[in-house]
């Protein structure tokens, strides 16, 4: 057998192609999401474990307005992300860029509201170690879980801005927007668990 015989066909037949017909970048993002699910799950298990086992767990939230607005904004940002992706697929570069930026803006509003809420709670005397309402573990777990989520949101905003600008400049394409969209929807998805566990369960009655 000569070596030449081993190379047959042209570029499209050289590899089997990606598994599940999913581009590799997108697949990698899914894998990251699986890993990140475990990270969040571990944090939420820690929170649930301690909340469950602590009798004097505080229920300090009197109003759901802020968290409801935050949820609304985050969900809406998922929708705008989808519209952006749709425009990118349709080849409407300007619209795709605009919607990506709107998504980033919504993300910034979300982060702003979140930080404002943090500051309010800190004003009320809540820190990582103690709070006026009950066990100090509440502050620790609240800040670490929402902090982890906020970190994800912040990274998402930066990524949206970077990818959006680079997409406009032609360095990235619709696939990159889709991969980023996956991440953004995941951040949204996690929030759906953070809200009931961390906020709604601790609502004062």
């Amino acid at each position: 057998m000569s070596q030449a015989d081993l190379t047959i066909g042209h570029s499209t037949t050289q590899t089997l192609g990606p598994a599940f017909s999913i581009p590799t970048k997108k697949f990698a993002m899914w894998l990251f999401i699986i890993a990140d699910t475990m990270t969040f799950a571990a944090c939420l298990v820690v929170y649930g474990f301690l909340r469950n086992g602590t009798p004097n767990w505080p229920r300090p939230f009197h109003s759901i307005t802020n968290v409801a607005i935050m949820t609304f904004i985050l969900l809406t940002s998922s929708l705008t992300m989808l519209i952006g992706l749709r425009s990118a697929r349709a080849g409407d570069k300007g619209a795709a860029f605009r919607w990506t930026m709107i998504t980033a803006a919504l993300g910034i509003v979300f982060a702003f509201l979140h930080i404002r809420e943090w500051l309010e709670l800190i004003d009320h005397g809540m820190t990582l170690l103690k709070n006026p309402w009950g066990t100090g573990l509440f502050g620790a777990s609240f800040f670490s879980i929402t902090g982890l989520h906020l970190t994800h949101v912040t990274c998402g905003i930066i990524a949206l801005l970077v990818v959006g600008v680079r997409y406009k400049g032609g360095r990235y394409n619709a696939d990159d927007i889709e991969v980023l969209g996956l991440y953004w929807h995941f951040v949204d998805l996690v929030w759906m668990f953070v809200v009931p566990l961390v906020y709604l369960l601790n609502l004062a009655h």
Partner: protein, 594 residues
């Protein structure tokens, strides 16, 4: 479509020294970097074990030079009890994370997984580079605890709460030492997550034409299964490490219960749970031991097949068994916690999956052993270490029968029985896998052969030595010898000290034998006999079909095409008794001739 594979191919080989050898994107260079890191870590870990063994056998004997490592820990060279625990912690952490995870998984996997699937590189070379450098920094952070603060943490590689979280009041190294430990392990998790991401995408996405999943060699399967475990297990340990750091630095109490009194002072922490840390840690910890051993199973099978000149009895059975090990590994972690104060009902719930896990392990061993039947076994360093692996894996594995049962664990938990068990089944066995892989792939990685005579000497001393060290551990455990004791002051431990002396002598000799390996490795790297050709073992998988060492893009700009199952041995072909995966030649088995 954006084709990452095609994209990677367009990188030109780097020319500057730094891009070529230091911050290289080439998976082969990264694999070698991982190997070098593991090698350094292994020798550091081994020297630590020497110090510990000497201290255990001759408690008051000064170890020359040890005082240079730590003036307070070893005044005059005689180890203090806390320094013993600190060295023990470092030994465990270094060995489990930086040797057993990095060498068989990250090092060999990085080097050979892309080649075995026929890819030019991993899909995300930057992540791959980051993966190594993050791991490297993690190692530096861990080592820095030797010189910073009051030394490394003394809490053992499991770092049980609340000892790990209450701070320096609990003992030397429990302040900064724990923070450095947790930082190092957190970073390590990030590194391995990036690695796992690359491994999974490489295996699934970058296979060349003809390379169906069942045509992947067992090594590729083992690395793939391992990376699936790594992806989820390390993702749980990382937040756990962050929470420990918070407990330490910020004073939160995730893992510290209320009203602890140390030195007559009530500790400020309140409300956390000690058991929570154990649940999180072992949820990672059990998959971790499979992360250490499954690549070994793959490597050893791969090497044995090549040296038996026949495939395993069943390719699929081995793959399914390794997969079953991975799945079960998430359901059994509580067997580390039988007497830890966990709910006693949970012990039973964890015990049965643990017993079930013996079935896939047994299947792997049975298939490996019975595949030897009717083979034409070639004896060389690589195959000797592979056979030694099986022997060790069985010897360490059967003690799992005991530890899987909570009732017997009451007797054996936290004794040397456990130490013997895991050292044999995941320590020495995985090490043998690493050695076998080194002897086997060295010609491909360097173009030179390792010295067989030295290799065999290394094997004999290691094999006999490992049994001499770790078999007696089981006996000590049966007699109730508690682990993690820096000296044996209890009455019932006095008669066991001679056994410890025997073990220490064996450990020193076996450790010295590893220096033969080091010499062989370095000497062969530069002055070894040149490999006679690209395929000195007459093997079939893709790594042997390319040049030696493989060019930058692995196949010299060509894309191989796979025509066969991975292990076509015992056939008649133009080159001998094997057909390479890339050879379009028809397979004629020997029996066809009759």
């Amino acid at each position: 479509m954006h084709d990452v594979a095609a994209h990677a191919a367009h990188h030109a080989p780097p020319t500057s020294f730094i891009r070529k050898h230091v911050f290289s994107l080439d998976h082969k260079v990264i694999g070698k970097q991982y190997y070098a890191l593991a090698l350094v870590a292994a020798f550091v870990g081994m020297f630590l074990s020497w110090f510990m063994r000497i201290h255990l056998a001759w408690n008051d004997t000064a170890i020359p030079g040890l005082q240079l490592l730590s003036k307070t820990g070893a005044p005059g060279g005689v180890m203090t009890p806390e320094y013993y625990l600190q060295l023990m912690t470092m030994h465990g952490t270094i060995m489990v994370f930086f040797v057993l995870t990095t060498a068989p998984f990250a090092a060999f996997g990085n080097y050979f997984l892309p080649i075995q699937v026929g890819a030019e590189d991993m899909p995300f070379p930057h992540f791959n580079m980051m993966s190594f450098w993050v791991t490297f920094v993690a190692f530096l952070v861990l080592m820095s605890s030797f010189i910073l603060g009051d030394g490394p943490t003394l809490g053992g590689w499991t770092q049980y709460a609340p000892l790990n979280a209450v701070g320096s009041v609990a003992g030397p190294g429990q302040g900064l030492g724990v923070v450095l430990w947790a930082t190092s392990i957190g970073l390590f998790c990030v590194g391995q997550l990036l690695g796992s991401l690359n491994f999974i995408t490489t295996t699934l996405d970058l296979r060349v034409k003809g390379m169906s999943l069942m045509r992947l060699p067992l090594t590729a399967w083992a690395w793939f299964i391992t990376s699936c475990m790594g992806l989820t297990a390390f993702a749980v340990l990382m937040p756990a490490c962050i929470l420990v750091i918070l407990d330490h630095v910020a004073g939160t109490s995730f893992f510290v219960a209320s009203n602890l009194v140390i030195n007559d002072q009530v500790q400020p922490h309140s409300g956390g749970s000690t058991l929570l840390w154990q649940h999180l840690f072992w949820f990672f910890g059990h998959p971790e031991v499979y992360i250490a051993i499954v690549p070994g199973l793959g490597i050893v099978s791969h090497i044995l097949i090549t040296n038996m000149r026949k495939p395993m009895l069943s390719h699929r059975t081995l793959i399914y068994s390794m997969g079953a090990l991975a799945v079960l590994s998430y359901m059994v972690y509580g067997h580390h916690m039988f007497v830890s104060g966990m709910n006693p009902f949970s012990s039973l719930a964890f015990s049965f999956p643990t017993l079930v896990i013996t079935i896939p392990s047994t299947i792997v061993v049975l298939v490996q052993v019975f595949s030897l039947y009717g083979s034409k076994l070639r004896i060389n360093s690589a195959s000797l270490f592979s056979l030694g692996f099986i022997s060790m894996f069985v010897a360490g594995g059967v003690s799992g029968f005991f530890l899987a049962q909570p009732s017997i664990d009451i007797m054996l938990h936290a004794t040397y029985f456990v130490v013997g068990h895991f050292h044999m089944v995941m320590g020495v066995a995985a090490m043998f896998g690493i050695f076998a892989g080194t002897y086997f792939w060295f010609p491909k990685m360097t173009g030179r052969m390792m010295n067989e005579t030295l290799g065999k000497a290394h094997f004999w001393l290691s094999f006999v030595g490992a049994y001499c060290i770790f078999m007696p551990f089981h006996y000590l455990g049966l007699a109730g010898n508690v682990r993690r004791y820096s000296s044996f002051v209890d009455d019932f431990l006095q008669p066991l000290i001679p056994v410890h002396r025997f073990i220490t002598v064996a450990a020193l000799l076996t450790g010295a034998a590893q220096l033969i390996f080091l010499y062989n490795l370095i000497h062969s790297r530069f002055w070894g006999k040149l490999a006679p050709n690209d395929n000195p073992w007459e093997a079939t998988s893709l790594e042997w079909s390319t040049a030696t060492p493989p060019p930058f893009d692995n196949f010299g700009g060509k894309h191989p095409v796979v025509y066969h199952d991975p292990y076509q041995y015992g056939v008649q072909s133009s080159v001998g008794d094997y057909v390479m995966q890339t050879s379009p030649e028809q397979v004629k088995t020997e029996s066809d001739e009759q």
